[in-house]
Amino acid sequence: MAKIGVFICHCGENIASKVDCNKLATSIGEHPGVAVALDYKYFCSDPGQERLKKAIKENNLTGVVVAACSPMMHEATFRKACAEAGLNPYLCEIANIREQCSWVHTDYDMATQKAMEITRSMVEKVKRNNKLQPIEVPVTRRALVIGGGIAGIQAALDIANAGQQVVLVEREPSLGGHMAQLSETFPTLDCSQCIMTPRMVEASQHPNIRLLTYAEIESVDGYIGNFQVRIRMKARYVDMSTCTGCGDCITKCPTKKISSEFDCGMGKRTAIYTPFAQSVPNIPVIDKASCTYFKNGKCKVCMKSCELNSINFDMQDEFIDLDFGAIVVATGFQVQDNSVYGEYGYGKYKDVINGLQFERLASASGPTSGKILRPSDGKEPENIVFIQCAGSRDCSKGVRYCSKICCMYTAKHSMLYAHKVHGGIAQIFYMDIRAAGKGYDEFTRRAIEEDKAAYFRGRVSKVWQENGKLMVRGVDTLLGKPVVIAADMVVLATAMVPQPDAKDFAKTIGIGYDEYGFFNEAHLKLRPVESSTAGVFLAGACQSPKDIPDSVAQASASASKVLALFSKDKLEREPVVASNNETTCAGCWGCVLACPYNAIEKKDILDRSGKVIKRVASVNPGLCQGCGTCVTFCRSNSLDLAGFTEKQIFAEVMAL
């Protein structure tokens, strides 16, 4: 015979002001199977929990319903209290009469009535709850960090420095990401590579970090603590074990006119190349699409020039299978394709470039060795027009969000330009100056006051060429006048967008993404570095536009989450998993098709002589995540989901 205790919380006035808790206790107390019904001001408080525990012991309760706030809030609290009173914690359920009742309704009687029904429904459910035990799963103490930009490097170093093993995967031939492409960084104007390359070297030499560059994630299986990942090592055509990075092959390569990705098309590279001089590892790769040998079957100049015989044209992609306990996703961003702005002439006029291209021009390691020169004729521009929000905050063509870094880097560009080209005039069109960050507003003030950047509040409508100049027509909304400027160069502060394959990648790894393709965090405010999939964490601009300090901070936060996970030998998981009645299972395998986790296997039932008499479905509780999709698929009602059984749900429905 069920002996259910119902505990109705006033939550101060939060519930009691809209629900008659006393009446609720009296009437639910008369419900069949309810042994005790109490109301109290705060059941989550220590004295409240003591009352609950005392009632469990005194009445020898077989189940508990706490009618209070959302289960997201205090389910864990009350289940723990039940366990302390000797009741299996899974015999406790929460009736949500705050978030979904008292807070959203104004009519006292109707809210009381609704609270009554919600509570009664939960009582009927709890009568059918089973004692469950949490599932223990082992933890593989090795972390996978995907993406070798500053966020990925930071996360990998933090985890490795705490003594845990890390595999850092980067799809480009070198670590570095976008930060390696930058010239100098706001708000301190320190050289990006000077602060970046020591980190890259540290990551590559760390005894706890295994670095896999020119590699991509092929597949991810498993779950928190136990991921199985297949990594594709793309063929470099250069033997990493023997190559010393002398660079003879690069010097000799006859194909020299390939547009450099690292220089954003502003410079050239060879077919066998390292992306930039400080590449880590400093081992070249052969770009198969451009290589003369791969195209025509003749050349092999690099092979002849290599004294160590490191070049191997027969190399194939290889796969590495590894187990991981946690994954940090730090796959970064791309800059938006500016061709959406036909009126700005990007792609049509050589001297209209984007912010990242300007970084390469200003970088000492860039195609002009840090001199600001016009791409069209190599002359120093006498003035440059910068157009902010070229893509960001533009619903019609670009993206609705603010890319966060453009105000700052445009101010930085204007300063770099003023420092490098004396007398050069920087004119900036902006919508708002968003300089929230430590030292950021001071930085933009410096650009305006010391380096004489001229800011025009307004949009640009058109850029066209006239007499060798780029004519920029915009508006100065503060003066209320149209402006036409004859410029030598135009720089667009392009929006940050997700990687083009971000959505496919999210599906591979099993995490959520937003309408743009940025990865979703588990909770925007309270769980900003966790993805919706347990054991997968986010770092850097793959989640949303971020500057370097934010990316680094998030990377360290992710690393600390990983380390917390690795601090235990075993993980406890909610026992909400499916199970199968093998007697009634007909082996139709509908569940196998439905399961998103491949958690259902086919199992042979043998007779005494070892002969297979039947094949049935069998759920691996380690893999099952408890969605219950298979249960609904099951035609013979053999499958059921612990915690949400058919009986429990029907009982809930029937009590309403």
Binding site: S70, P71, M72, N96, R98, E99, Q100, C101, W103, V104, H105, T106, D107, M110, A111, Q113, K114, E117, I118, S121, K503, K507, G510, G512, Y513, N520, H523, L524, S532, T533, V576, A594, P596, Y597, Q625, G626, C627, G628, T629, V631, T632, F633, L641, G643, F644, E646, I649, F650, E652, V653, M654, L656
Partner: protein, 149 residues
């Protein structure tokens, strides 16, 4: 039907998106009609058509099914299964004569407290206009025996 008819609506929602969205509506102190009773499930993939039929049989005037937006399912694709199941089930309902407009299917994310409140109001209005659903009740009354599972 009388003006004062208050429909009873049962909502089957997933815990990760819509239930959390409903909590957000509460945390944001949005007000909405008190006609909906929520049954929390791990995923919309868990929702069996039988639950819906049972709820209608028990006297519900309308049903709401809501989960994560396509692509956002916590369990990667439980909501796609729910959607496919619903497409088939709707045809079956129309065939059997149970008016499928009494059942609403929707996507509400954990961040859409506002949308949840609006949805509850619009569903309540719609069902109120349809009037009480007494097909099963009449049937039960006529046979004078409670239907069993």
């Amino acid at each position: 039907m009388s003006e004062s008819f208050e429909p009873k609506i049962i909502a089957f929602v997933c815990t990760y998106c819509t239930y959390t969205g409903a909590d957000l509506a509460g945390t944001s102190r949005l007000k909405y009609a008190p006609n909906v009773r929520i049954i929390r499930l791990p995923c919309t993939g868990r929702i069996s058509p039988m639950f819906i039929l049972k709820a209608l049989q028990q006297g519900a005037d309308g049903i709401l099914v809501s989960g994560c937006h396509p692509g956002d399912c916590h369990f990667t694709h439980g909501n796609y299964h729910a959607r496919r199941r619903w497409m088939v089930f709707r045809t079956l309902l129309d065939f059997t004569g149970i008016p499928s407009e009494r059942i609403k299917f929707s996507w509400i994310s954990a961040a859409e407290g506002h949308k949840f409140a609006e949805l509850i109001n619009s569903v309540t209005d719609d069902i109120r206009k349809l009037g009480p659903f007494d097909q099963y009740k009449n049937l039960i009354r006529e046979t004078e025996a409670p239907a069993t599972l």
